[in-house]
Symmetry: none
Subunit: 211 residues, 4 copies
DNA sequence: TATGAATGAGTATTCATTCAT
DNA sequence: TATGAATGAATACTCATTCAT
């Protein structure tokens, strides 16, 4: 009598469509009509699952943030040496951003919205804090194990996250920038003063020619 | 018989108003009506001086970028030791952002737009390149003078700008962040591996109690 | 094998719910969704028993009118003196309207609809005619028995019904109005010129202190 | 330099159009599109002069009420005998309603709305009170002059207004009703018990054959 | 019988832009 | 130059109704 529950599937179907539209047009310029088309559903169906455009934007961002956190946070819990783990995190984040290149612009718009909307600010800062916390734990670990200089782990984490976000920003504005190369250099600079030994770790030792 | 030329004054009057509105509502949500009110001019007057909303956004951003560049670029040409000049640049940028706190969000939205619009991308990357170039020259200078390690000046400059922009982003999202403190720490980390001597320069040595 | 017939029960369940919703929001602003909620049934069930919203409105009004007629018409057939019976009718109608205070607004909307829709007009005028006829018969009876002046019974009945409906209208618009007091006065004025004797019958002789 | 002020003219142009649409479709079923068409203006123009549909409804009703009051209240201040003045009022109201036959339905819908909306209630009861007050004054005048029995003027006025509104209601629902004839009869009944002398005033002595 | 997900035409409202004055 | 009334395309959202299960 009861049909299988398709609500989760539908919600993702809608968010997938919305994400594509947001990437192309930004939040403000995206229309429900476009989301309707892209989702191959009807207007009514969209509104059956979401209260309105704002809720779709919210859910879409939440999903992005979650995905972002998940992917990276996974890399933080391992037993290998700190440098290796930091490198892995960096590469993971890089891979992620390369694969979801388009989303970077959308996230930027979300941060711009955060400048005006307290609600958005709460959401986004929650995301960043989770990110920073995980990162700080990793650094604290490295300090404890004697691999890193005894710095304030949280501040160092903030520096790291800021560096990464800043590079992403530059890269969004100038896609010709070789993201990996620049990240390698920047991270190298920062790590050099954190590491007790190895003065110049190479984050991206394998030279690939595919970009 | 000819009235004095008020066009420059009027254009600034309009852009000043637009800037305020953009800060409050973002580009997309700002209306011409709001700009009209804030400028104490009429709709017709606005359209006399600007083709439309897009042109106002463009002109407004151009002015912001120019101001930004001016303020900081000035600091780059001096004869004092590199560290001092770097510190001055950092402080100058910090002051600037503290004074125009509101504009950070607007700029962020401009970068988000750049992700979609080639025109915007050109404009914004021009701005960043000018910034990076000036910064790179400063670093090259420092290397030449033997004050800095021989690194790729452009890459180092990018790292520096990225760090600054990333911190700004974090701070926009989380205004509770002590911008100066974190910038001092982050810049310290980066400078430490650039400088030949002083392992830990203090960017903000004077402790102020006003925040 | 055949389940008991629940259709009558269901129809009333739906109409009861609809009535509540109509009282709160009027016909036009009431939604099927609200009726669904209030009835604790499903959308499909509602549409199983009624063709659509219009049919529900129709059935709901029919039921209201019937109820109205039933209650009052009962009072018309008795053997007591005319004045007494008129007074009883008035009190009955008053009681009825006091108990279903909310419905007065709904009925008013129905009359407004009648101004535009011939179908509604037919329905509503049928209701009024039944009312007026019964009332006229009562008056004719009074005339025949020599209790009332020989007036046109139908016109007098119309006057009576109009007076009652008009007071209801005023009371809907101004609920602070003491319905009974005003009705007593108005009916008194009218009866005075109908009755052969008693110039000032008191319709509501019992003084209550509860309002 | 400044064009003539057309705002008053435009507002009336819009309200005239709205009134026609309201008469045809009622408030709820009337669309802005229809008002736009009927007014020969553009959507934007409508919204330039009115905030939205609700405001148009409000303004439209206000205008109706005002007109209604104006027309009738004028008749209340004269020096002729009370009966004559009452008759004049009745005829005036009748003429008015005959000329604006269509509006009766709209007013009914307004009263129905008043049942649900306190704001509407305030507006409508204000209208009725003004009406009743004027009427009461007339009656008090008659009593003072010894032309009428000493009754409570306000209650009598309410009775009169109720009678008139009730007849209008019946006539809206059943346009075949001879409004004047019935009003004459009903008013006669009521006046008979108010007047000290003339037992049966004829409100509409001139028999016209045009309806 | 009964469910509730899905449909899509319809609606109020906004807002960049124009243009007669 | 400057005004602000007027335009109308575009947009978010609603809701009666249908239909596969």
């Amino acid at each position: 009598m009861s049909r299988p529950d398709v609500s989760t599937e539908r919600r993702h179907q809608i968010l997938d469509a919305a994400e594509k539209v947001f990437v192309r047009h930004g939040f403000a310029e995206s229309t429900m009509e476009q989301i309707v088309e892209e989702s191959h559903l009807s207007k009514g169906a969209i509104y059956w699952y979401f209260k309105g455009k704002d809720e779709i934007i919210g859910a879409s961002l939440a999903r992005m943030f979650e995905r972002s956190l998940q992917d990276v946070a996974d890399q933080l819990k391992s037993d290998r040496p700190i440098v290796e783990r930091l490198m892995t995190v960096a590469r993971c984040a890089t891979d992620q951003i390369r694969n979801a290149r388009q989303l970077a612009g959308v996230e930027l718009e979300a941060y711009a919205m955060a400048a005006r909307s307290p609600q958005m600010r709460r959401r986004a800062s929650g995301y960043f804090n989770a990110y920073i916390d995980a990162f700080a734990k990793l650094i604290a670990d490295g300090i404890e194990k004697g691999e890193l200089h005894p710095v304030d782990p949280r501040k160092a984490a903030i520096s790291g996250v800021a560096l990464f976000e800043g590079l992403t920003l530059l890269w969004v504005v100038n896609p010709d920038l070789d993201f990996e190369e620049v990240l390698a250099h920047a991270a190298g600079l920062m790590l050099a003063s954190l590491l007790r030994d190895a003065p110049r770790p190479n984050l991206f030792p394998v030279v690939r020619g595919d970009h």
